[in-house]
Symmetry: C2
Subunit: 192 residues, 2 copies
Amino acid sequence: MPWEKSFDEESALEKAMQVFWEKGFESASIADLLAGMGLNRGSLYNAFGGKQPLFVKALLKYDQERQTLLAKLEALDNPKKAIATFFDTIVALTVADQDHKGCFLINTALEIATHDEQVNKIVRNGLREIEAFFRRGIEVGQARGDMPKKFDPEATAKALLALIVAIRVLGRGVFAEAALRTIADEAKRLIS
Amino acid sequence: MPWEKSFDEESALEKAMQVFWEKGFESASIADLLAGMGLNRGSLYNAFGGKQPLFVKALLKYDQERQTLLAKLEALDNPKKAIATFFDTIVALTVADQDHKGCFLINTALEIATHDEQVNKIVRNGLREIEAFFRRGIEVGQARGDMPKKFDPEATAKALLALIVAIRVLGRGVFAEAALRTIADEAKRLIS
DNA sequence: AATTATGTTGACCGATCGTTATAAACAAGG
DNA sequence: CCTTGTTTATAACGATCGGTCAACATAATT
């Protein structure tokens, strides 16, 4: 094996993720990706195999970041605060996102997850892990007396996931900051 | 003016709506639309003006059906039951929808509403009217004593809209029937 | 220095995109 | 019958799509 690549594969993937995130799978053309990633056709196909494999890698990278965020929150060892912070973070991210890209996972769920089993699996797994994060938090919170035991962890976790999904969807041009905060507050009310 | 059209414009629009609903704006090709609507190129451009105008008409038609459903529920004059029935209906529709088309309005919100102001307006208005339906129901329900007055109509209406949106999104391949019903039950719990 | 293996480059492919144009078939009013 | 306005059917438009490929450049190996 003669030598190394001339471009940084990881940062190129990062750029590709941004393009797919902003435009979606269908609307992101190879030309868009090449421009965003700063490389030419051959290199893209050589390094990533094509549009679909590149998309999967980009989606996995995004999911990795999701995983990192959740792990960091869970390490707080204060479930109620961790869940509240998660909602605040999502609202802040959504509001700061000037071009209304929303959540890459959720966007993908609606665009092509229906038609591609591999992609569907990644999306479903990611959302299920968010739900599991909520459920574990509620169970621990209830056990420690931080949260009332009058509600069911399973059902409440699903409701919280639903609210997160909705914040991400409605944040894309339907609701403004105040309304998104209202939903987040309702989420906190659910576990109080 | 010699004579009438040879095809039923309304039923053709209905078919177009189905195609756009199932495939989305970008992925629905003119060929798909022609096949679905049962007419040829010239007629489509003559009668509807092109792909984008046709999409807007189809979206408006869908929104009309949304409007009709809400009006029918509101005519029940039993807000709590109307809201519960709305959630049950949405869950039933979502579960019965074998090809996971979801809600045309919400799908559109994520696909092109960001880039087209006219479409964005239709989507935003439709969702706002659902929220208003919830708010009016809660206000009337609280006034009549059907619902406790401990929660804020404005905030709760937004939360209910969020749950509806999430049911429609998660119903597209992420959650199965049981989980969707759980979310609907949480919605009912919000107004109990 | 020659060879070999890999990455880069940009032209090129057939297919499909949305749209327009053209010409024939057709049915009403004059 | 002839005009008029519409529907059909088909061809063709330029643009863009994702993907391929042969020529070239480069660096390690021989």
